[in-house]
Amino acid sequence: MGSRSSHAAVIPDVDSIRRETGFSQASLIRLHHRFRALDRNKKGYLSRIDLQQIGALAVNPLGDRIIESFFPNGSQQVDFPGFVRVLAHFRPVEDEDTDLDPKKPEPLNSRRNKLHYAFQLYDLDRDGKISRHEMLQVLRLMVGVQVTEEQLENIADRTVQEADEDGDGAVSFLEFTKSLEKMDVEQKMSIRILK
């Protein structure tokens, strides 16, 4: 018990982080452990290379995009609050979270924020739209060269056609939300251990 509290003391700004992300004390401590384990030179922050060590990200076609999402605005390092803030998207939606407090901003793990996070992964140039070109790039990552370029273009066209409602040839965030309406995002984009 004592060791735990000392751990908690190590984390800077515990309370503000907690308030912002909704993580419990225990999981923050766990995340901090993980953070320090990833931070190999004890720099106090993580760089892209640190994150690229993670096996699951290395095999993921979108792994680089996920890593990129930790570094908003082109910065080269992410500190613990930033790290936790990204992970907070994956906190399971719980009962208490529906207790809306209008003065607080929307919690990071709301459906909309989860979806927005997913959207970001596809939106390579961050213009708020997934264009056909971006889609093609992601597709190439996902299926590689086994499918011909023409077919890939077909797929991209079809995807845009399905989701696009305002006819601008790209999928905006709203259209993205719409197309994934039936998907159980709250469940799927949750990691059980992040309570």
Binding site: D95, T98, L100, P105, R112, G144, R192
Partner: protein
């Protein structure tokens, strides 16, 4: 960055592809164990389904049981609404819009203080608790898992709310029924959770309960994982599915199902017939039917003889002839002939039942899905990757399966958009059918010819090996060469591959059916011949025995030793002959299949792979590796099963052989497909239910039931072999048992039941029932279709409304400010309203309405901040569009923004 990434990834893909195409060694070795079955959450067939669903759930991210929180959520929402309703009655509202705004804001104001109150309350309570309790609380919260502080607080809050509800229930303007249900729910809740806040014991009990509940959930999850792992060959099949598509996997799932069925049949026959006979029946060599005749004795152990299932194998418990007609055997007084008959019947009974049941469950599953085909590509594109994959091999599989599923969708898509010359297609299809009919007739005649010849051969002495096996060879050759021929011809027809597969299956089915029936006719001729001979042999036997015992020249005083069983002349035992015929056919079929795979697939793959280094052109390019032949394999399996059903009555050991065959073929074919086949050029999705396979299987089952039933009902059993020897007909054993083992009145009842006067009305009744049920199901499906149409029409109407509204809002919000914080709160409210079913549409609509405003702003920020919306638009203008909830959001949002400054 991304370019570099792309390059890297493409390289990786290239490597994978190279592996997949490079044939045997690498991919063959990749059948290793995977951590769990998370790759391809898709499966057809009965066995696979549950596991697949489970694995899907696993992928879905493991949030704790979703049901309970949701329920609580709705409960809370309802409560909140009630509170909201209460509120306006106290406050005065002037206009409708203002009222609504009031409701919102007052609710907010009301919840916040109440929350604070609760905070205080709780703290007080905690203070009031004695020292040990608070420490236990601290420890439990720091111990973390069982009961955290937040959880406690939440429950406390809820309990308070419920208590409040109970107190104010009486004054609520609800109907009585609702009050009652609410009251009951609230009381239950309080009872359940008050323990958590109660004194010492209750609290500990509650903590214990919570702990147990958590443990239980975890255990259930682990158990489900375990169950998934227990499904045999799941990993292999998933592996194949991810590389070759669901159509190839459907064959293997079918094979696995078949294996399950055969295992049950095997258990039935071995447990009830063979093992009792071996354990309790008379031993080998005790009576003539259990002894190899003197003439065959020298060669009975030769391999060539055994290979033909003659010699010792013929006189073993694997065949009908070995069984004795003793009514009861052993100290158990086991009625073997009766058991033999009943098992023979129940093999068919069980098979029929299981086939029909799985067909029914397949149809039920397929109708439930409905059409959720919107956004196929979007779903695949955005959600197909499983982010929990951390193993590179699993990732490879996942890549393959995503690619495959994309290809499947492409094929479907292309097919639905195809337009072409209809006359040409029709002409080609007629031509193809003509050609195939010719082929079928030709092969039918060929078989007829060969069977005739073989009857001649059988009369001649010392025929060569080829002449003896001519029928089998011709049939195997036909089975080997006709399907590819059909496939070539079917290319003319240009069907969707799924439809094409069905046609192909039907044609090969016809071919095999012809083969089967010619074979059966030949067999029947043989049987009748043997039956004709039997009478004379019977006389000879009697005569020999009579002579042996009454011959002169033996000392009268000493009783003569009984004639050695091997010396007794005996009949030809047509039942065993039939059994042997089926046994041979099964084994030769198996061997032909394996050899075809080895030669046609494996050697070809090896050749292409290794000769490619020193060949003039690129062998791997055009006609190179074999594709997996789904139709041929499925039909082979089905007909093999037909043989088993037909033969199992006369050769009880046949099922054992078949179980072995299926087992080996599972491993062998899995290996062969992964090592030496390439995916189909047009990978297509298997239809969700493999009812087509099942339908064929049912047909074959029925067809194989006919000859067996015929022989049982109308042919006399051999006089000196088998459990029914000495009886006039095989089913006499039933009568005998009824007469001897049941009380007489039962016998009378059975005799009465067997009266045609009763059976015919019963059959009529069944027909009527079938007719009735059929018409009911038809009308139901019609109603279903109509409802679906209605829903679609509704959908259309909504869409048109939406587009109208969207334009209107676009005009409105064109000049409004955008502020992200506003936007956040707005959406929050929207979200809050989503749970009632009708509201989800309105939510979507709401978003749509905001769409144009957002699409040009950078980060999906949206919505009109200012309160000018409610002012510029009088309430009720858009209420008539039929979507009041959306109306509410807009109002409430703007209302909030209007109210915000005072805060």
């Amino acid at each position: 960055m991304s370019h570099q990434v792309k390059g890297l990834k493409e390289e990786a893909r290239g490597r994978v592809k190279g592996r997949a195409r490079s044939g045997s060694p690498p991919t063959g070795n990749r059948l290793g164990r995977r951590p769990s079955s998370k790759q391809a959450p898709k499966a057809q067939g009965t066995w696979g389904r549950r596991g697949a669903q489970r694995s899907q759930k696993e992928c879905a991210g493991d949030s704790p049981s979703p049901g309970a929180p949701q329920r609580k959520q709705t409960e809370r929402r309802r409560l909140r609404e009630e509170l909201g309703k209460q509120e306006p009655s106290k406050a005065e509202g002037t206009s409708e819009g203002r009222r609504k705004r009031d409701k919102r804001s007052s609710f907010k104001e009301q919840t916040a203080p109440s929350k604070k109150e609760k905070e205080i309350l709780r703290k007080e309570k905690l203070k009031r608790q004695k020292k040990p309790r608070s420490s236990s609380l601290a420890s439990s919260s720091s111990g973390g898992e069982s009961l955290s502080e937040e959880e406690l607080a939440r429950i406390l809050e809820q309990v308070e709310e419920k208590k409040k509800l109970i107190a104010t229930m009486r004054s609520k303007p609800w109907p009585m029924a609702k009050k009652l249900t609410e009251l009951r729910e609230a009381q239950e809740f309080v009872e359940k959770y008050e323990g958590a806040l109660g004194k010492g014991k209750g609290k500990r009990l509650y903590a214990c309960k919570m702990l147990m509940a958590k443990k239980w959930v975890k255990f259930k999850r682990d158990f489900d994982n375990f169950k998934t792992q227990c499904i045999p060959w799941e990993m292999k099949i998933k592996d194949i599915e991810s590389h070759f598509g669901s159509s190839v996997a459907s064959y293997f799932i079918f094979l696995r199902w078949m294996y399950g069925v055969n295992l049950v049949l095997f258990g039935l026959i071995f447990g009830l017939v063979i093992i009792p006979e071996v354990l309790m029946g008379m031993p080998y060599g005790s009576i003539p039917r259990k002894t190899v005749p003197r003439a065959e004795e020298e060669k009975a152990m030769d391999f060539s003889v055994l290979w033909d299932f003659e010699g010792y194998i013929k006189y073993s418990a694997l065949f009908y002839g070995y069984y004795n007609n003793q009514r009861t055997i052993g100290w158990l007084r086991y009625r073997l002939p009766m058991a033999y008959f009943m098992v023979g019947v129940s093999v068919f009974g069980y098979s029929l039942m299981i086939v029909i049941r799985s067909m029914a469950s397949n149809t039920q599953g397929s109708t439930g899905e409905g059409e959720s085909d919107n956004f196929t590509f979007s779903f695949k594109m955005f959600t197909s990757w499983d982010y929990l994959i951390g193993n590179s091999e699993t990732a490879d599989n996942k890549y393959a399966s995503i690619t495959t599923s994309f290809k499947e969708s492409i094929v479907d898509e292309q097919e639905s958009n195809k337009e072409e010359n209809i006359h040409l297609t029709r002409f080609l299809r007629v031509l193809a059918n003509f050609l195939i009919t010719c082929c079928l007739c030709g092969s039918g005649y060929l078989i007829y010819f060969v069977v005739k010849r073989s009857q001649q051969f059988s009369k001649m002495q010392n025929v060569s090996w080829y002449e003896r096996n001519e029928v089998e060879i011709v049939m195997s050759l036909l089975g080997m060469f006709c399907p590819p021929l059909f496939e070539t011809i079917a290319a003319l027809e240009n069907y969707h591959p799924r439809t094409g597969l069905k046609w192909q299956l039907g044609r090969i089915f016809a071919l095999f059916l012809g083969n089967l029936y010619t074979f059966l006719l030949a067999l029947m001729d043989d049987v009748h011949l043997k039956l004709a001979h039997e009478e004379t042999i019977k006389n000879i036997t009697h005569w020999t025995l009579f002579n042996y015992y009454n011959s002169s020249g033996w000392n009268e005083s000493v009783p003569r030793p009984p004639l050695h069983p091997a010396d007794v002349p005996r009949g030809s035992c047509w039942e065993t002959a039939v059994g042997i015929e089926f046994m041979r056919l099964t084994v030769s079929d198996m061997l032909v299949t394996y050899i075809t795979i080895l030669l046609g697939d494996f050697l070809r793959a090896c050749f292409v792979r290794f000769m490619n280094y020193c060949w003039c052109w690129d062998l791997e390019a055009g006609f190179s590796y074999a594709e997996f032949d789904i139709s041929g394999n499925v039909l082979g399996l089905i007909f093999n099963q037909g043989m088993i059903w037909m033969g199992s009555f006369y050769a009880p050991g046949l099922v054992g052989i078949n179980v072995l065959r299926l087992l080996t073929s599972m491993y062998f074919q899995c290996w062969a497909v992964m090592s030496s086949n390439v995916p189909h050029e047009r990978v297509f999705k298997a239809s969700r239910s493999n009812n087509f396979y099942m339908g064929l299987l049912l047909l074959v089952l029925f067809l194989s039931l006919l000859p067996v039933a015929y022989t049982i009902m109308s042919l006399p059993p051999s006089f000196d072999c088998g459990p029914f020897s000495g009886k006039n007909r095989m089913y006499d054993v039933l009568q005998e048992t009824i007469e001897n083992d049941f009380p007489t009145f039962l016998g009378k009842i059975f005799a009465f039941l067997a009266n045609p006067g009763l059976i015919i009305p019963a059959i009529l009744l069944m027909f009527l029932a079938i007719y009735y049920l059929n018409s009911v199901s038809k009308s139901l499906s019609q109603a279903n279709a109509q409802l679906r149409k209605k829903i679609q029409a509704l959908h259309e109407v909504e869409k048109s409304h939406k587009s109208v509204k969207g334009k209107a809002t676009a005009r409105d919000s064109g000049d409004t400010l955008k502020s992200s914080s506003q936007n956040a709160t707005q959406l929050q409210l929207t979200k809050e309203e989503t749970s009632p079913p009708s509201a989800s549409q309105s939510q979507a609509m709401d978003k749509k309405a905001q769409g144009p405003g957002t699409s040009n702003s950078a980060r999906g920020t949206m919505l009109p901040a200012s309160g000018h919306l409610p002012i510029s638009r009088p309430p009720g203008v858009r209420t008539d569009s039929g979507h009041p909830p959306s109306q509410t959001h807009l109002w409430s949002a703007s209302g909030k923004s209007a109210q915000r400054p005072p805060h």
